[in-house]
Every structure is written in structure tokens, then in C-alpha cells.
């Protein structure tokens, strides 16, 4: 009779290779864990696969948006608002667009590198304004982890001492561009603080990675690893250390549990063959992106968990938020006929405006930060569209050709990124009718803005128009009306989905505890954007990294005590 050797389970299975998953892989393998990581997308490596330094005229599309890359042909984002064979649905009356990439490193390949710490107030909003809920942790709990993330990954910025915008351990920021100085001066005259950006782009070498070479193409993936993406800073180093097994093209479809209600592993589909596999693990870490993790939990039903794994509270999928957003651009005469020079810089604006108003003086809660854009970027598909909006009003021939030359670089834009308050009408659930091509039931989204968000975005529009005017410029288009939602971007468009597996002290109103550990399933953790109790006026990634590191430390502690 043949002797079958019993397969040993892995210590940890991590689903997702983005910011949260990558960080967990690094910390856990360094603690000695044998980790298997499932990634739904293909292998992609910014160091070798980037389109960095590609001229627009090297391709027929000149960098345009394509179905395969919906942020641009050269952008390091494989996927976008639609994925072939992987639909999602919306409840009637809902406007929501869900952005998904499928690739090693996830969204960290092409994100904006805006790396802002949440501030003390951001963890206790209910205590401050009675809306939403407080986090079960505070800034002081996370500060040591933000410090570690800053030191490991690197972020530039300036020490400003602004109370709810904590300073980090910063590398020097790059000087502002010409047009950014115009913005700064106008902002100052309007009493809006305008300070150096805080981006995870190296201006000094760090941990074996060279400093930025200022080609401005971070979104294409950096060939020299001078910006942060999970692949080369977290995942591949963990693999090189020998304790991480990476499986790409692996679509997780369910988390397996035993009769005790503990997770025992993950069932996934090998996308290349269509065959199902199961990986056994003592600990399961979900980092598939907030809504995908929620989807996995909701689809992992069992006798113990008829409403989805770890969902005795019924809050998986609830408290979904996205960042509020709107843009205003305008023509700035002072920038006409600008001096030709290399204005690429680092891959993002070198200045930004953190939230500056006392909400007591306003008719909406919470705040937003302001991002800026413009100047002499690389020409590509769609270059200087609708030039008839500029002062010479259109034309053709020699006059027009000269207009393109002199107006190039004279458009400046502002984008707001603000905090949405969770509401009961905004959540995701499993669609009862629709499955994807793998047979996995898909998500159905419900999304609503409330008066809080509309008024906040109205304030953005008014502020941006005032800034452009203060710069001596003319905004394009008129102020959007209330009927147009003051120009608010549809839900999902800012791509900061959070909250659908929120943490909290009570197992009846939250999915996870303060360590991102499921209340119901002690060997299950979630480390993407799902645990967040609130948005903030700050992008989530740096907090995802800090929370994942902290949760991973806790997993190690529990494991060493024999608790999991």
C-alpha cells in the first residue's frame, strides 16, 4: 500500500500582493514564517517591464487609454474600470465605478505615491463631530509603525508642525516647479497653506535603492525602484530570503474553514488551466483590496457562517466609502511663452495644500487636501485638446501652430481629495444573480453621496476658481450646479475604497479587532483598505502599510504564544 506523506500546511496564506499583502509577506517571512502568497494577476516587475523612457511616438496610440490599460498605454496598471470576464453590478440608481488592476504589486505599481499619515483627529471623528465612528486605536498606536514605514520605504517632505498632518521621517523634498511657485504664492495670498508634497519617491538612496532621476514617470513603474511599489520593496526581497512562495494567476474563490470555525486555507482557481487548487495554511491574511476581500468573506459561507465568513456582525461590505473629488483647470496668462526646460521632476506635484479650515465655520464636516497639476508635461495622445478655450479662440495654420507652442504649459489644474462620512446607503453585497467567468458570485454596489459631501465639493470648486483667479488666470467652464452635484466625481472614481471590513471594539458592529484580526475567526486577518473605520482627507496607502506591519507583528506574537 503506498504511503502518502501528509502535506504540511503553510504557516500563512496571503491573498493579494499589494501594499498590505506585500508588507505582511515581508514581516512574516522575516519572523521565520513559511508564507504562500496568491496573486490574481500575472507576474509584472517594474524594474524590467516598465515603459519608462518610452516616447509617445514609439507606439501608434501615443500613450492613449486602451482597454487593457485604462489609465494609459504606458501606465503600470493592467486593467481598470472593467475586467474581461469579471463583471460587477450596481443597484438601481447607483453610480459607482470600481477600479481593479490584476498584477503582481497591485495598485502600488501605478499609484500617485502620495504618502500622508493620518492625524490624531482622523482616528476619533465621532468624538469630534458626532458622525461615523471612532477607530479602536489612535495615532499614538500607529505612530511607531509610520516611523518604521518611513524608514523602510522612504518618503520626502518637510517638517511643518501642522497638528493633524503629522510630520514623518522625511527625505528632502524637490524644489517646486515654475508654475507650482505661482500656485504657492496665490495660495498664500488666500491664506491657504501650500507645502512640499509627501511622496514615497526617494530623493536620497535608501536600503539599496537609488534616488529618483526625475523623469516624472512614476506611474509607468520605476525601472530603478526609486519610488515605492510592493513588488520590489516588499515581495521580491521576501522571496529572495527563501520563505515566500508566490503563485500568480491565482483567483481565490473561497476561504476554507473547519468545524471549529477556524480558517484552514484558501481555494483558488489557476487562471491558466481553469483548475481548482487548495492551499492549506494556519493563518489566512486577506489583502485582495478592500472590496475583493469583502467579496471573499461573503462568498465563504458555511454552517458556522451562513452570512459569510467572519460576518456574524453583518457588517462585511458595509460602511463603504471613497474619497470625494472634483477638478478645476484654468488658463494662466503668466505662463504663456514659458522658457523651454525640463520640467518633469518627480512623478507628482512637488507641492500640495493640506486641509486648513476650521469646520466650525463651515456647513459640512471633515476636510480635503488639494492636489495640483499642469505645466510642460510630455506630449501624448490628446495633447492640448480644445485649444479654442484659450484666448485666441481657435484658428488654423501658422497662427494656430504658434498658439500651441506659446500656450504649452500654461494650463494649471486643481483636484480636491476629501473625506466622505460613511452612510447606511453605501455598501457592497453579493449579487444574487451574477457570477464571473470563474463561477464566483460578483459584488453589487450601492452608493450615495449625502449633503455632507456635496457641500464639501462645492467648497472645493469655489476655492479652486478663486485660486486660478488669484493667479491671474481664467477657469475653464462655469461652476457646476447643485443638480450636477457641484461636479463631484462618481463614487469609486478616486479609487480609495475603504471600510468594508471595518475594525472596532464590538464584534456586533465590526468585523475586525484593533489588530485587524477577525472577531469571529482568530486566525483570519485583513490588511488592505477594508479595516479602516473612516476615510480621512489623506490617501490611505501609508496607513494600510502601517496597519499591516502592526497586524503582522501581532500575528507573530500570537503565533509565538500558541494562540493561533
Amino acid at each position: 500500500m503506498p504511503f502518502f506523506k501528509r502535506r504540511q500546511p503553510h504557516d500563512v496564506c496571503i491573498i493579494g500582493s499589494g501594499a498590505g499583502g506585500g508588507m505582511a509577506a515581508k514581516i512574516l517571512t522575516e519572523a521565520g514564517a513559511d508564507v504562500v502568497m496568491l496573486e490574481a494577476g500575472p507576474h509584472w516587475d517594474n524594474a524590467t517591464d516598465s515603459a519608462m523612457f518610452t516616447w509617445p511616438y514609439e507606439t501608434s496610440w501615443r500613450g492613449a487609454v486602451t482597454p487593457e490599460r485604462q489609465f494609459g498605454e504606458f501606465d503600470a496598471g493592467l486593467g481598470g474600470w472593467s475586467l474581461p470576464g469579471e463583471p460587477y453590478t450596481r443597484a438601481s440608481g447607483t453610480q459607482f465605478d470600481w477600479f481593479r488592476v490584476r498584477m503582481l504589486g497591485g495598485r502600488t505599481n501605478h499609484w500617485g505615491r502620495i504618502s500622508l499619515r493620518f492625524g490624531p483627529d482622523d482616528f476619533r471623528r465621532r468624538s469630534l463631530d458626532g458622525l461615523g465612528d471612532d477607530w479602536p486605536i489612535g495615532y499614538d498606536d500607529l505612530a511607531p509603525y509610520y516611523d518604521r514605514v518611513d524608514r523602510l520605504i522612504g518618503v520626502f517632505g518637510s517638517m511643518e508642525g501642522i497638528p493633524n498632518q503629522p510630520d514623518g521621517i522625511f527625505q528632502p523634498p524637490p524644489r517646486p516647479r515654475c508654475w507650482e511657485l505661482l500656485v504657492r504664492d496665490a495660495a498664500r495670498r488666500l491664506d491657504i497653506p501650500c507645502i512640499p508634497s509627501r511622496l514615497s519617491i526617494l530623493t536620497q538612496p535608501l536600503n539599496g535603492r537609488p534616488a529618483c532621476h526625475y523623469c516624472g514617470q512614476c506611474n509607468r513603474g520605476c525601472a530603478t525602484n526609486s519610488n515605492f511599489s510592493s513588488t520590489n520593496v516588499l515581495v521580491l526581497p521576501a522571496m529572495a530570503a527563501g520563505r515566500l512562495t508566490l503563485v500568480t494567476g491565482a483567483m481565490a474563490r473561497e476561504i476554507a474553514v473547519d468545524r471549529r470555525g477556524l480558517a484552514t486555507g484558501v481555494i483558488y482557481i489557476d487562471k491558466a488551466t481553469g483548475r481548482e487548487h487548495r492551499v492549506d495554511a494556519r493563518i489566512v491574511v486577506l489583502a485582495a483590496s478592500a472590496c475583493e476581500s469583502a467579496r471573499l468573506l461573503l462568498n465563504s459561507t458555511s454552517a458556522q457562517f451562513p452570512n459569510g465568513l467572519a460576518n456574524s456582525s453583518g457588517t462585511v461590505g458595509k460602511y463603504l466609502t471613497d474619497t470625494t473629488g472634483t477638478d478645476v483647470a484654468g488658463f494662466v496668462p503668466a505662463l504663456v511663452g514659458g522658457l523651454p526646460h525640463n520640467e518633469d521632476g518627480a512623478g507628482g506635484a512637488h507641492l500640495y495644500m493640506p486641509w486648513w479650515v476650521d469646520n466650525q465655520t463651515l456647513d459640512f464636516p471633515r476636510g480635503y487636501h488639494i492636489e495640483i497639476w499642469g505645466g510642460r508635461g510630455m506630449p501624448s495622445y490628446g495633447f492640448m485638446g480644445d485649444i479654442q478655450r484659450l484666448p485666441s479662440g481657435g484658428g488654423y495654420g501658422a497662427q494656430l501652430k504658434e498658439d500651441y507652442r506659446r500656450y504649452y504649459g500654461s494650463v494649471v489644474g486643481f483636484s480636491g481629495r476629501g473625506e466622505m462620512v460613511p452612510n447606511d446607503d453605501t455598501y457592497c453585497e453579493i449579487d444574487p444573480d451574477v457570477v464571473d467567468q470563474w463561477g464566483i458570485p460578483v459584488l453589487r454596489f450601492h452608493f450615495k453621496w449625502t449633503e455632507h459631501e456635496y457641500r464639501q465639493v462645492k467648497h472645493m470648486q469655489e476655492t479652486f476658481r478663486a485660486l486660478i483667479t488669484e493667479m491671474g488666470g481664467t477657469p475653464f467652464g462655469t461652476m457646476p450646479s447643485a443638480e450636477d452635484g457641484y461636479g463631484i466625481a462618481p463614487g469609486g472614481r478616486i479609487i480609495h475604497e475603504l471600510g468594508v471590513t471595518r475594525m472596532g471594539t464590538s464584534p456586533t458592529t465590526s468585523v475586525l479587532n484593533a489588530q485587524c484580526q477577525a472577531h469571529d475567526v482568530k486566525n483570519l486577518f485583513v490588511v488592505d483598505g477594508g479595516p479602516f473605520v473612516s476615510q480621512a482627507d489623506k490617501n490611505p496607502t501609508w496607513t494600510i502599510l502601517a496597519l499591516s506591519w502592526r497586524a503582522s507583528d501581532h500575528m507573530v506574537e500570537l503565533r509565538n504564544k500558541g494562540d493561533i
Binding site: 500613450g63 511657485l181 535603492r209 503668466a334 492640448m384 481657435g394 501658422a398
Partner: protein
């Protein structure tokens, strides 16, 4: 400074990946490929505007119109060639063939037809058969939306679309990028910010 391995290789052998890998292999501090080295490497790789190919979307007559009109929108001058030199008609034909915007295909095809209708009504001939002066008379009336007669609104709309397509293809071509004096898409060792002369012109300072 350790010389990256691509120096000394024949330019035509270089691929974009070679340059990217050489950059990745460059030592950490202070050594970067010089701007000239990088630009020399790239020139070997850059695509050129193709010779006139048969259009896939446009008919022969439409294509003649597109070629003529594109050069009227962005002509050649002492600084750079015009739209046809930069491969703009080929670019527009590609975009309309490969893109999935059916409305835009209709708009361009229909707009070209509109131009011919308008010219036949005014001058008894299609656009391409008119004189320069006759063509200019029509374009003068539709190229500035703020000054166009109301009854020519459809032409204005077409011309906005066409001008956008010409600009998109021209300024993203090699000719266009160089004409603009775009000086980026390269590796620099140190970011120095806004040049002094531009600081003075703008009245700003660090």
C-alpha cells in the same frame, strides 16, 4: 563611475529594455547615464512616421481631404514640418480604425462630407478641388467658434474635433515633441527646479 554596459554597443542593437536595464544597474550614488548617452541610445529605437500607407478607415477621397486639411491646420514652417510630414493622417486613420468610439467615426466622416457639401454649395466643387482662397474663406468661418455664424455650427463642431485629432497626432510625433522643445523624458542626476530666467519672468523666487 562604472560605465554602463550599453556604451560601445552599436546603436541599432539597442532596445528600450537595454537602456532601462543599464539604468537599473547603474551604481547608486551620483552616476547616471549622461543625457547624451541616453538620447543616442533612443534615436536608434525611435519609430519614424511611415511612408504613405493605404488608409483602413478613410476612402481615397476622404483621405485626400484629410491630408490637405491637416496641413492647413498645422502647416510646415521654418521650425518644423507640417501635419503630413509628422504622419498625422496615418495617425488619424489608425485612431478611427482601432478605437471603439463609433460616434467619433461618424462625426469625422460626416464632418468631411459636410465640408464638401458646403464647398459645393458655395463654389460648385469639393473641398480639395477649391482654390486656396475658397478653402480659407470656409475655414475662416468655422475655425473660431466664438465668431462663427450660427448656421455653420455643425462645421464648427467638426473642425474642433478635427483640430484636436491633428494636434494629438502632431505634437506627440517626433517632429512635434522636438518643435515644442520638450526637454524631459530623460534621467537627470539632480533636480534644480525652475531656471533663474523663468523665475525672474514670473516674479517668483525660492
Amino acid at each position: 563611475m562604472v560605465k554602463p554596459r550599453l556604451v560601445g554597443r552599436i546603436m541599432s542593437d539597442l532596445s528600450r529594455r537595454d537602456v532601462v536595464q543599464a539604468l537599473a544597474a547603474a551604481p547608486l550614488v551620483g552616476s547616471f547615464l549622461s543625457k547624451t548617452e541616453i538620447e543616442r541610445a533612443w534615436r536608434g529605437v525611435g519609430a519614424t512616421a511611415g511612408a504613405t500607407v493605404q488608409p483602413s478607415f478613410f476612402t481615397a477621397h476622404e483621405y485626400q481631404t484629410v491630408r490637405l486639411l491637416a496641413d492647413l491646420v498645422i502647416p510646415s514652417d521654418e521650425r518644423s514640418g507640417g501635419a503630413t510630414d509628422a504622419g498625422v493622417p496615418e495617425f488619424i486613420d489608425f485612431v478611427l480604425t482601432e478605437g471603439n468610439e463609433e460616434n467619433r467615426r461618424i462625426a469625422v466622416r460626416g464632418g468631411l462630407a459636410w465640408m464638401d457639401i458646403e464647398c459645393r454649395e458655395r463654389f460648385g466643387k469639393n473641398f480639395i478641388d477649391c482654390t486656396d482662397q475658397q478653402r480659407a474663406q470656409l475655414l475662416d468661418q468655422i475655425a473660431w467658434p466664438g465668431m462663427a455664424p450660427a448656421e455653420l455650427a455643425h462645421g464648427v463642431r467638426f473642425f474642433n474635433t478635427f483640430r484636436n485629432l491633428v494636434a494629438s497626432g502632431f505634437w506627440s510625433s517626433k517632429i512635434g515633441v522636438e518643435d515644442l522643445r520638450y526637454m524631459g523624458n530623460t534621467s537627470i542626476a539632480e533636480w534644480t527646479g525652475c531656471p533663474g530666467e523663468q523665475l525672474r519672468r514670473l516674479g517668483v523666487r525660492y
